[in-house]
């Protein structure tokens, strides 16, 4: 390819050209408008950066090639004949290009999000080093505030939420017998918005005045008054959120219209149900956080007074809108994990999922109830006090569908043939740790207790029990479970077990004692604390370092097994769901013959039962209507 062609076609060369153009555009627009209005100074760094933070990522997305096809189409030009040249990976380089294959996108998602997981984890290590003793150790308070803000934002917006989207991206179309997602180009765009958002958040450390330092919650008016770094969050979240929404739409359409013949709603694996319900949450809730951050941006950049009480703004409004997203978001971060656990437990315990329909109904119940509890984060916010008791009641009611899930998983283990593989270990670790996080959640819902423990380390403990012992353990379970499918190789079981036991033990030693210091009166989000909390904090810090190291065993296992691990069979777990009925890794277009679904997904132990059969057929596939 000639150099000129390289710059013309989609890819990194063109992106390298378009990024400076994006910056220039931001600069030109800002300076132009300021000149028109006669503002002084003409060159305002904050203003230019704010606009450039929007224009540059868009320019990058154009340069890398996310919009080529649509531009052709919109311009009325003949769209190029689809030659599938950007579908599927033939060399490792294809993973660094805009690709429309859901399997490639899935891997891109997973690898990218793990990069941000490591970055967020390193920030946690720095925080724990600072907190190892009272007083000031290695970072100043401003940096510390930045560290926990970026740590939490990366973990939530760049790891947990998207890594689930990545796993589902890979597995879900295979599971329902579809050749790809419904909108492959939108899928690619969703992915490429993510690194943009993540790099923006990390880059905020280089902004004058330091990174954003108002927590991942970015409460106004603090967030409308702090230095430029905050803008990196405000805008970064927009890209992460847009990515989330687009993916969720894609999942919804895929699940509704692209199921294989015979795959009725009641024959869908629970991972599919989980992503169906999660996607509903995402499309309904995510616009709210986008709104909340836009208002902050307007207050910061345009001088509006949405959250300026002195000018009639409403400070509590921010929190209501924010939590109207961010409570459902905790289920966005949990339901896909529920799906993974159902797959892992039934497969590795060789049992049908106990109470399959109740499992699906409880997911739906959580979606509905999830929208009725947001103000439990605001019991001490000074909001109208009558709303507290109703929200306490709805919050506690969510324990019922959640309990159904936990008890059903345990009943699935009952009389099974339990293979203690690494995914199974993580699933069991999840069940126990998530139960603990759920219980501390109930405790937090009881208003008089919450008034005391909210904004203390008890909440930090709770967050990590549900997000690490909960979500991250399901992610590990899922990665180990589908590793053979994704890479065509087996991981090392011994290393997997060591990883599990180190994680499990040091997870508890790190986050367990946080309950104690919290109830004893240590507030959260502090760089320094009173002498009396010193002993436990030292223990927490030491445990967290070992816990952090345990991750590298996982990393080593994944990388070395991917390169040299023993070849995996198509179906090493003898599972029934469809993704295991094709080769490992699957063919580029997933199915050489289209599967027909003839029974439930988990009929272990039922003589002669089958979930899907493959018969060579030329029939055109028709979407199946729901029962």
């Amino acid at each position: 390819m000639t150099l000129a062609a390289k710059f013309k076609g989609p890819g990194w060369y063109r992106a390298a050209l378009s990024i400076p153009l994006g910056i220039l555009f931001g600069l030109g627009l800002t300076v132009g408008v300021r000149a028109l209005y006669g503002y002084d100074p003409l060159f305002d760094g904050d203003a230019i950066t704010t606009v450039a933070l929007i224009s540059t990522p868009l320019a990058f997305l154009v340069g890398i090639g996310c919009f080529d096809y649509w531009f052709y189409w919109a311009a009325g030009k003949p769209t190029r004949e689809e030659d599938h040249s950007s579908h599927g990976a033939h060399t490792w380089k294809d993973y660094f290009k805009v690709n429309t294959d859901h399997k490639v996108i899935g891997i891109q998602y997973i690898c990218t999000t793990f990069v941000f997981f490591v970055l967020g984890g390193l920030m946690a290590m720095v925080m724990r080093a600072e907190l190892a003793a009272p007083g000031s150790q290695i970072v100043d308070p401003n940096t510390f505030n930045g560290l926990f803000s970026v740590h939490a934002s990366l973990m939530i917006f760049l790891f947990i939420i998207p890594v689930f989207a990545g796993i589902a991206n890979y597995v879900l179309p295979l599971m329902i017998g579809a050749p790809d997602m419904a909108f492959p180009r939108l899928n690619a765009l969703s992915f490429w918005m993510l690194p943009t958002a993540g790099i923006m958040m990390v880059a905020s450390f280089f902004a004058p005045g330091g990174s954003f330092a108002t927590g991942w919650t970015a409460y106004a008016p603090l967030s409308t008054e702090t230095p430029l770094g905050q803008t990196f969050f405000t805008i970064g979240v927009q890209f992460a959120g847009a990515s989330s929404i687009a993916t969720a739409l894609n999942f919804l359409v895929t699940i509704i219209t692209m199921r294989a013949p015979g795959m009725t709603f009641w024959r869908m694996p629970l991972l599919v149900w989980a992503n169906f319900t999660t996607s509903l949450l995402v499309v309904i809730a995510t616009p709210f956080i986008a709104g909340s951050q836009f208002f902050v941006l307007f207050d910061r950049a345009l001088g509006t007074d949405f959250f300026n009480a002195a000018a009639g703004g409403d400070v509590l409004m921010y929190q209501h809108v924010f939590w109207f997203y961010s409570h459902p978001a905790v289920y966005i971060m949990m339901l896909p994990g529920f799906g993974i656990i159902s797959e892992v437990i039934s497969t590795h315990a060789r049992k049908p999922v106990f109470g399959y329909r109740m499992m699906a109904f409880s997911l739906m119940a959580i979606v509905v109830l999830g929208f009725t509890v947001w103000a439990h984060h605001m019991f001490v916010s000074g909001m109208f006090s009558w709303l507290r008791v109703p929200m306490m009641i709805t919050t506690m009611l969510i324990a019922v569908p959640t309990g159904i899930k936990i008890f059903s998983w345990i009943a699935t283990l009952w009389k099974g043939v339990i293979h203690m593989t690494t995914p199974m270990l993580f699933a069991l670790g999840f069940i126990t740790m998530f139960t603990l996080g759920g219980i501390s959640g109930i405790v937090l819902a009881v208003i008089p207790v919450d008034i005391y423990v909210s904004d203390t380390y008890f909440v930090v403990a709770h967050i990590h029990y549900v997000l690490f012992g909960g979500s991250v353990f399901t992610i590990f379970a899922g990665i180990y479970h589908w590793f053979p499918k994704m890479t065509g190789r087996m991981y090392d079981e011994t290393l997997g077990r060591i990883h599990f036991w180190l994680s499990f033990i040091f997870f508890n030693l790190t986050f367990g004692p946080m309950h104690l210091v919290g109830v004893d009166g240590m507030p959260r989000r502090v760089a320094d604390y009173a002498e009396e909390f010193a002993t436990l904090n030292a223990l927490i810090s030491v445990s967290s370092f070992i816990f952090g190291m345990s991750f590298f065993i996982f990393l080593y296992n994944m990388i070395s097994s991917w390169r040299h691990g023993p070849k995996a069979a198509a179906n090493p777990w003898r599972a029934h769901t469809i993704e295991w009925q094709v080769s490992s890794p699957p063919p580029i277009f997933n199915f050489d013959e289209i599967p027909t679904v003839v029974g439930g997904p988990y009929e272990y132990g039922v003589p002669g039962a089958q979930h899907a059969i493959f018969k060579a057929t030329e029939e055109k596939r028709e979407p199946v209507a729901a029962e």
Binding site: Y219, P352, F354, G355, A411, R525, A530, Y604
Partner: protein
């Protein structure tokens, strides 16, 4: 299994109640909250133990023998069991919610003849205003928080800049100081002593240094302190 569960629950509950969770209490309202906490522990521990014991039992009893390629029993559900584990948690959380509501009502009950103290948050310090002992309109301003025992204090909380949160762990209560509105909480000090006052809402650079203290003193001592402070303030103009 039931025996193990019972023993573990008893040990767990005893251990949980033995832990000295809270800092010392200095107000009458604290007792209700601390009891509520103990009840929550007594309910929570057996639930956690139940899950742990059944999981551990399953792992030991149903672990695949090497080379066992068989499947488990194809049990798809059990309506009776499912009704039970919907109904029992429902009852438990309902009772806890009602109990929580009652405690909330109790601790927020207004008592007559309250001492009104204005609290103003400011990056990164708390300021206080007391009623004038001579009956004048002018409030007595101070950077110290001193309250008498035996009389309910109502804190009316404001902020000059961003959100803060007025928290006295020994009083068990906290609420945000929100720009544009005044928030309140009430407590009846009962134990003399000096206790921490903290800011519990991230308010910027100096958030972790926004710590002060409150002195709970006998009513006479409070009156004396107030008169002295008022006099000093008058002197300084």
């Amino acid at each position: 299994m039931a025996i193990y569960g019972l023993i573990a629950s008893v040990i767990g509950v005893v251990a949980a109640l033995w832990i000295d969770w809270f800092p010392p209490a200095a107000v009458q309202e604290a007792k209700d909250i601390d009891t509520l906490w103990d009840v929550l522990l007594i309910v929570s521990v057996p639930i956690f133990v139940l899950v742990m014991v059944v999981v551990i039992y399953c792992v030991r009893a149903f672990k695949a023998r090497p080379g066992d390629m068989g499947d488990g029993e194809p049990i798809h559900g059990n309506t009776m069991l499912e009704v039970v584990w919907v109904a029992v948690p429902f009852v438990i959380v309902s009772v806890l919610a009602v109990y929580g509501w009652i405690v909330l009502d109790d601790i927020e009950a207004k008592k007559p003849d309250r001492l009104q103290v204005e609290v103003r948050g400011q990056q990164f310090i708390w300021r206080y205003e007391y009623p004038n002992p001579t009956g004048g309109k002018e409030k007595v301003k101070s950077y110290d928080l001193v309250v008498p025992t035996g009389r309910q204090v109502e804190f009316n909380i404001n902020t000059d800049d961003v959100i803060h949160d007025f928290w006295i762990p020994a009083f068990r209560l906290k609420i945000d100081a929100v720009p544009g509105i005044t928030t309140h909480w009430r407590a009846t000090p009962s134990e003399k002593g000096s206790y921490d006052v903290l800011c519990a809402e991230l308010c910027g650079l100096g958030h972790s240094t926004m710590r002060g203290s409150v002195r709970v003193v006998a009513p006479e001592e409070y009156d004396a302190w107030l008169s002295k402070t008022a006099a000093k303030a008058a002197e300084e103009g």
